[in-house]
């Protein structure tokens, strides 16, 4: 009888070796990556609740393996989570076919996939933290790729440092968990120990996800790493950690009601605010991606701490949609970085006019960026909508803030794309001294037209992804606190007083109404004096038609 977890770990590891051998032949390397992920997804699609006869023997997906006091076991929800992770990795590997992401991207990516999968399935959970640090060391090499030079290692080092700092948090949580489970403790004493464990664990997750606004890895990694590697870290690595968080919520009742919850929510709010405040004003694509990631990490953490069915679905959906959105942006950016020294808007001005590949790159960035910001019609909209709806059920202002942050990301991408498709300024002294911010005004119509193919490109995925995310949320009822709420003693529910809807709405809308004029005036200021904007839009539209004629 073969354990499913062993196959999931070994298949990528074994394929990493030939992928490394063929690293000079990118097609073969990509093929190896796709083959490994495809095989694992194939294994994961087998039924969980019965034995499966394969050529090499009988496979039992849920069969545990025990060694050195640890257990490696794939649960039903791990099966779905891993399927999604490997599918996302497959997409990113496929995207790396035409743009070099460093010779170690696929071989090390496969090793990281294997180690992260082990981290998801291994128990006691302290070992997961250890495995995530090992994966982070390999990711640091992926971030560096063939990028050389002084100060070029900051992104890789920052990611490695933050992941390593999470090590004592996981070990500490493991220690307190063991102590709390020791016999002879009173319920109160055990509760205190569980509280300590939950705070340590929460801190560990915050460090692993890089969920703090300053000195985190997002900006440095987005700047130093090849774009698809950034996407790999944000989706595959952070996605696995998110699924691990959900798995712990499913398994450990004390973690479900953790004390550190408030702190994590506060951290996620700061991430959203800082990311949203910075995104619209960024002047380079790498910094813009970093700000978008900050918003996304914040939104994801909020979802992880919501105790409803939709939040699990939103986390799962986010992994898929982020892969597609960030993958599209990354592939476009990789092409453009090959044509310019860096990815500043000023440097890339007019880059979309330099050939077909550059136009496609601009299209990919536009589609991906709009999807990241949740523009209706893109796959990102599905995720953002679920996120906003979930949060709005408990906190309307927060939901509005989240939407504003997403809009800020969208504005940032509009500015970037408008720089890409605008005419390159002539190299006169006046043009050289011109502030790029003045030139990069967002032509809304151009971007809307560019984004038109995006829904058709993405429309297949939501329907494919939705059932999977639904199944995952059904497999994790405790993470959503539904069954947990049934099993645990129910508090006596006081009869709720009648709610005056008008009053509640007024109460909720009042702060918004105060901030609305500020937002509108900022928008007017940003788009550059309202009388001018219509003429600019008309000019942009005519320029677009002439551009694509």
């Amino acid at each position: 009888m073969i354990s499913g977890s062993i196959l999931v770990l070994l298949l990528p590891l074994l394929t990493a070796l030939p992928a490394y051998v063929f690293r000079q032949r990118r097609s073969l390397e990509v093929l190896m990556g796709l083959l490994a992920c495809g095989l694992v997804v194939g294994v994961l699609l087998l039924p969980y609740d019965r034995s499966n006869n394969l050529l090499i023997g009988t496979l039992d997906l849920g069969r545990p393996i025990e060694f050195l006091g640890v257990t490696l076991r794939m649960h039903a929800y791990d099966q779905i989570a891993l399927s999604m992770i490997f599918l996302c990795a497959m997409i990113l590997f496929a995207l790396s076919w035409r743009t070099s992401q460093g010779r170690t991207f696929i071989p090390l990516g496969l090793c990281v996939l294997s180690i992260m999968s082990a981290g998801l399935m291994i128990r006691p959970f302290a070992y997961s933290g250890l495995l995530f640090v090992i994966a982070a060391a390999l990711v640091a090499i992926m971030i560096q790729a063939e990028h050389i030079g002084e100060r070029s290692t900051h992104g890789a080092m920052r990611y490695l440092i933050l992941s390593t700092l999470a090590l004592p948090a996981f070990l500490g949580a493991g220690y307190y968990f063991n102590q709390a489970n020791a016999s002879g403790l009173t319920e109160e004493a055990a509760a205190v120990l569980f509280d300590n464990a939950s705070i340590f664990l929460g801190g560990g997750f915050v460090l692993l996800l890089g969920a703090f606004p300053l000195f985190t890895w997002t900006h440095l990694v987005a700047n130093d790493a090849p774009p698809l590697t950034t996407a790999f870290i944000a989706t595959v690595c952070s996605g696995t950690i998110s699924f691990f968080y959900l798995a712990l919520k499913q398994e450990l009742s004390w973690f479900r009601n953790l004390d550190g919850n408030t702190y994590i929510v506060a951290v996620s709010l700061i991430m959203i605010v800082v990311g949203g405040a910075l995104a619209w004003a960024q002047m380079s694509f790498s910094r813009l991606i970093a700000s978008a990631l900050s918003v996304d990490i914040g939104a994801n953490l909020l979802m992880l701490n919501q105790h409803v069915h939709q939040s699990v679905e939103a986390v799962a959906l986010n992994v898929v949609s982020l892969t597609l959105s960030l993958g599209a942006v990354a592939i476009g950016l990789a092409i453009l970085r090959g044509k310019a020294r860096d990815d500043d808007f000023a440097e890339l001005m007019g880059a979309a006019r330099t050939g077909t590949s550059a136009r496609l790159a601009a299209l990919a960035i536009c589609a991906g960026g709009m999807s990241l910001s949740g523009l209706p019609g893109s796959i990102g909209f599905v995720t953002r909508w679920v996120q906003a709806r979930t949060i709005a059920s408990t906190d309307t202002e927060l939901a509005v803030g989240l939407l504003v942050a997403f809009a800020s990301v969208g504005i940032g991408f509009l500015r970037g794309v408008s720089a890409l498709i605008s005419e390159k300024p002539k190299s006169t002294p006046q043009a050289q001294s011109a502030n790029p911010a003045d030139v990069a005004k967002p032509p809304i119509n151009e971007v809307a037209a560019l984004n038109a193919p995006a829904p058709s490109a993405f429309e297949a995925m939501p329907t494919e992804a939705m059932p999977m995310t639904e199944v995952l949320s059904q497999e994790m009822p405790l993470a959503a606190n539904e069954m947990g709420a049934l099993n645990e003693p129910q508090p006596v529910v006081e009869p709720q007083p009648q709610v005056n809807v008008a009053e509640t709405l007024a109460e909720r809308i009042a702060p918004l109404a105060i901030s609305l004029p500020v937002i509108i005036s900022l928008a007017i200021f940003y788009f550059g004096m309202s009388p001018v904007i219509f003429t600019t839009m008309a000019a942009s539209l005519s320029r677009l038609f002439s551009f694509y004629r």
């Binding site: 050195l68 006091g69 640890v70 302290a126 070992y127 250890l130 495995l131 640090v133 090992i134 060391a137 390999l138 640091a140 090499i141 560096q144 990028h147 050389i148 030079g149 002084e150 100060r151 070029s152 290692t153 890789a156 080092m157 490695l160 440092i161 390593t164 700092l165 090590l167 004592p168 070990l171 220690y175 063991n178 102590q179 020294r341 860096d342």
Partner: protein, 218 residues
């Protein structure tokens, strides 16, 4: 192999004070000096000391893992650092050996004194943490050693820009965490895994050291 294990067991029974003082001295050396030809040998000595301290709590054969992984990591780092120095020498930049042979005494006090003052604060903080936030268990001396390594590791990480020095700080931090955990909850699996982490982090740092040595490419 049995002789080595027996030797570790005997050495671990030595008085704790000299071991702790040696550990503090090694941490001080690594913090003050930023020359890999000196810091890497000190790091190996520090791994030996950490192994001996660990052997007081766990089986000496497990402490041997720490020694071996530490030696391997230091060896990998020294190869990378040597290669990086070769590349710097080709560009006519100053390298580690030259900086030892011809010490720039005028600039030394400014750098070293600042680090020494900061180190004093860090060591005081480590001592304060040992008394104010004692780890569970009775092995106070191991807790102090763990706090010293963690604090000095973090200090190096925070104050140096080069990949090699940050890596050395990171390895010290990992050693401190391991020592603290082993003192609280001796565990074979965790020891083996942290040994593996040290090795892989060491390889990653060696790779980054090589990348760091090249001139900036725009």
């Amino acid at each position: 192999m049995n002789d080595v294990i027996a030797l570790i067991e005997q050495l671990s029974r030595l008085a704790i004070t000299p071991l702790l003082l040696s550990l503090v001295a090694s941490a001080t050396g690594i913090v003050l000096v930023r020359n890999w030809r000196l810091t890497l040998p000190i790091l190996i000595a520090q791994y030996v000391l950490v192994g001996l301290l660990m052997a007081r709590s766990i089986q000496p054969s497990l402490a041997l893992i720490k020694l071996i992984s530490g030696a391997l990591v230091s060896f990998a780092l020294s190869i990378a650092a040597q290669r990086a120095d070769d590349m710097r020498a080709q560009r006519g930049e100053s390298i580690a050996v030259e900086r030892i042979r011809m010490v720039a005494w005028r600039s030394v006090p400014a750098q070293v004194l600042l680090r020494a003052v900061a180190l004093l604060l860090v060591l005081t903080a480590a001592f304060g943490a040992t008394t104010r936030f004692p780890l569970p268990g009775n092995a106070r001396e191991l807790h102090f050693a763990a706090y010293v390594l963690i604090a000095c590791g973090l200090f190096i990480i925070a104050t140096t820009p080069e990949a090699l020095n940050i890596g050395i700080g990171l390895l010290m931090f990992i050693s401190g965490v391991e020592l603290g955990y082993i003192a609280v909850l001796p565990n074979v699996g965790v020891s083996v895994m942290i040994g593996l982490i040290s090795l892989i982090v060491g390889i990653a740092i060696a790779y980054l050291t090589l990348a760091d040595s090249e001139p900036l490419v725009l």
